[in-house]
Structure formats: structure tokens, C-alpha cells
């Protein structure tokens, strides 16, 4: 199969056309480039504003990218502190419970000793009285006491 050649070129016809297209296109874009360079001041200013906005956005993004790993690091350290608690931390956290139990025991002991001392006072009063304790078991004596208490 033989390739067809353009009469004015050593290139095959297809390549010649392609090269010609590229040359024409590039010359047209030279004109377009001139048009782009001659934009009104208002347009170039708005483009400059847009560019600055974009650069500010990029700076914000970079700052966030720096701060985020630091926050993650702090979070990881916090998690490490709370996850396997140290012996001291466990002892300190148990301290309020120990204090509460000790307080309850002391209150109970104080209450028992109060009851014992009250009973001892009653016993000593009974024993020191002239009336024998057995008299309080006598129904006649009880009746006597009731009749004297009533007006």
C-alpha cells in the first residue's frame, strides 16, 4: 500500500494537512493571545481579586493541614492516658470511695457507743435507786405509779 504525498511537500498528505492545520491554528491563537493581553483594566482587576481569593484559600488550607495532625496527636495522647490507667491514677480515683467507707464506719461506731453509754446510765440509775428493780415488775406497784401520775 502506497502513501499519497502532497505535491508541495515531502510529507504524506495527512501529515501535511495536520501540520498546516497546526500552523494556521497557532497563528490564530497569536491573535487570541493579543486579545487576552488587551483586556480592560476592570477585568484584570477582578481577575487579580479572584487570584488573591484563591491564594488566601490555599493558605487557609495549608494552615488547616498543619493544625489537624497536631490536634490528632493531642487526641491520641489523651486516649493513651485514659486507656490503660496507671497505678497512681487508679489509687487516686479510688480515694473518695475509701474516705466514704471510713466515714460510715466511724458514724456507726459513734452511734453504738452512744447507745451503750445510754444503757449504762439507765442501769446505774436503777441500781443506785432505793427501790429494788424487781418492784417495777410488780403489777400493784405499776398501778400505784399510774394512779399517782394521773391528776
Amino acid at each position: 500500500m502506497t502513501k499519497s504525498y502532497h505535491p508541495d511537500s515531502a510529507l504524506p498528505a495527512a501529515l501535511h494537512t495536520e501540520a498546516l492545520e497546526a500552523r494556521v491554528a497557532l497563528r490564530m491563537t497569536v491573535h487570541l493571545h493579543r486579545a487576552a493581553q488587551g483586556l480592560p483594566h476592570e477585568i484584570t482587576e477582578r481577575l487579580r481579586f479572584g487570584r488573591e481569593q484563591a491564594l488566601a484559600a490555599a493558605r487557609r488550607q495549608r494552615a488547616a493541614a498543619v493544625v489537624l495532625p497536631q490536634l490528632v496527636g493531642v487526641g491520641e495522647r489523651s486516649a493513651a492516658l485514659g486507656n490503660p490507667p496507671s497505678l497512681w491514677l487508679r489509687l487516686v480515683s479510688a480515694l473518695p470511695l475509701v474516705v466514704l467507707l471510713a466515714g460510715l464506719v466511724l458514724i456507726q461506731q459513734h452511734h453504738d457507743s452512744e447507745q451503750i453509754s445510754a444503757a449504762a446510765e439507765i442501769d446505774s440509775a436503777l441500781l443506785a435507786d432505793e427501790l429494788p428493780p424487781a418492784a417495777y415488775g410488780d403489777p400493784g406497784f405499776s398501778e400505784f405509779l399510774h394512779s399517782h401520775e394521773a391528776p
Binding site: 491563537t29 487570541l32 493579543r34 493581553q37 483586556l39 477582578r46 481579586f49 491564594l55 488550607q61
Partner: protein
């Protein structure tokens, strides 16, 4: 990672072309400014950590997406789809000699005199008008390939199509522009 200066320099180098390219697409300067600003901010927010060499391709893709988003917001997607189908109907002018047209267009453009500013502005206006009138995909391929100087593979990646489609779109765009210039008889 692209530094602040690299990002700034890149945006500065690309913003005017991006604006013109978007104006051709949306035909509204305010809308184009919004789209370009949106694309620049998206690039800075999401891809500022990428190497500077990757920024051009990423930006072109973001700009294309931002332009499509603008069309969606404007609820003119139907018009865009209509334009997309335009490139299927290029064969109506059967006796048009593409090569002749290209060669004559090259001659006109190549012979442009820098001193003749009036003629130059006429050519410029004509080219801009014709570029804006191209079907969307052809214009996109033409501008990315020849103005942004992306290669065929990069253009295909930005446009989300095959390299063959890029070549077809570019070829049709160049021929359409050359034919339009020839029809207008633009001579420098």
C-alpha cells in the same frame, strides 16, 4: 507541593486566557469572571498540595467543570447539548476545498503587518467572533490544544474523550475558522 509563589505565578499566567476562553463559552463577561474565580479557588483549595507541574492540566479540567456548572446553574443545558450536536453537520459544503482554504488562511495570517493596527483588530475581531461561534466541543478542543498548548492526550483527558475525537474536533475547528476568514475576505 506548589509554593504560594508558584501557585500565584501559575494563576497569573493563565487567568486571562481562562477568562477569554470562558467568555467564548458562556458569552457573558460577569459569568466568565465568576467561573474563572470559582475555578481558581477550587484549584487552590483542593490541589494546592500538588506539584506545580500538575497545575495546568488540573486547572483546565476544573475550568471546564466550572463552566459546565455555570451552564447548569443558568439552566441552559439544552442549548449546550444542541451545540454539542452541531459538529455532526459539517459536511453540507461539499465543494469547499479544505486545503485551499487553509493555505489561503495561512497566507493571510502570515502576511499580517504589525504596523496596520486597524486591519489587525479586524482580524482579531473576526477570529474572536468565529471562535465564539464554534460548536462547544470544537472550540474547547481548539483552545486547549493550540492556545493552552496541551498535547492531544492531555486535551483528551481534560475533555473526557478519546484522542481521535480531539484530533477530529481540532481539525474541524481549524477548517471552520479558516473557511470563515476566507468568506469574510479578511486581508491584512
Amino acid at each position: 507541593m506548589a509554593s504560594d509563589k508558584e501557585l500565584s505565578d501559575f494563576l497569573k499566567s493563565v487567568e486571562k486566557r481562562a477568562f477569554k476562553r470562558t467568555v467564548y463559552a458562556v458569552r457573558d463577561e460577569d459569568g466568565a469572571l465568576d467561573v474563572v474565580q470559582d475555578a481558581m479557588i477550587r484549584l487552590a483549595e483542593k490541589y494546592a498540595d500538588r506539584p506545580a507541574a500538575e497545575l495546568p492540566l488540573l486547572f483546565q479540567r476544573i475550568l471546564s467543570n466550572a463552566t459546565m456548572d455555570w451552564f447548569r446553574r443558568q439552566k441552559v443545558r439544552g442549548a449546550v447539548l444542541q451545540n454539542l450536536s452541531d459538529f455532526e453537520t459539517d459536511d453540507t459544503d461539499g465543494d469547499f476545498d479544505l486545503l485551499e482554504s487553509l493555505e489561503s488562511a495561512e497566507g493571510m495570517l502570515g502576511a499580517e503587518s504589525a504596523a496596520d493596527t486597524v486591519a489587525r483588530s479586524q482580524i482579531l475581531l473576526a477570529i474572536e467572533t468565529e471562535v465564539a461561534a464554534l460548536p462547544t466541543r470544537q472550540r474547547e478542543a481548539f483552545l486547549l490544544r493550540y492556545w493552552e498548548e496541551l498535547d492531544v492526550a492531555e486535551t483528551a483527558a481534560v475533555m473526557g474523550c478519546s484522542e481521535g475525537s480531539v484530533k477530529t474536533h481540532c481539525s474541524r475547528a481549524v477548517h471552520a475558522l479558516a473557511q470563515a476568514l476566507r468568506t469574510k475576505g479578511i486581508a491584512p
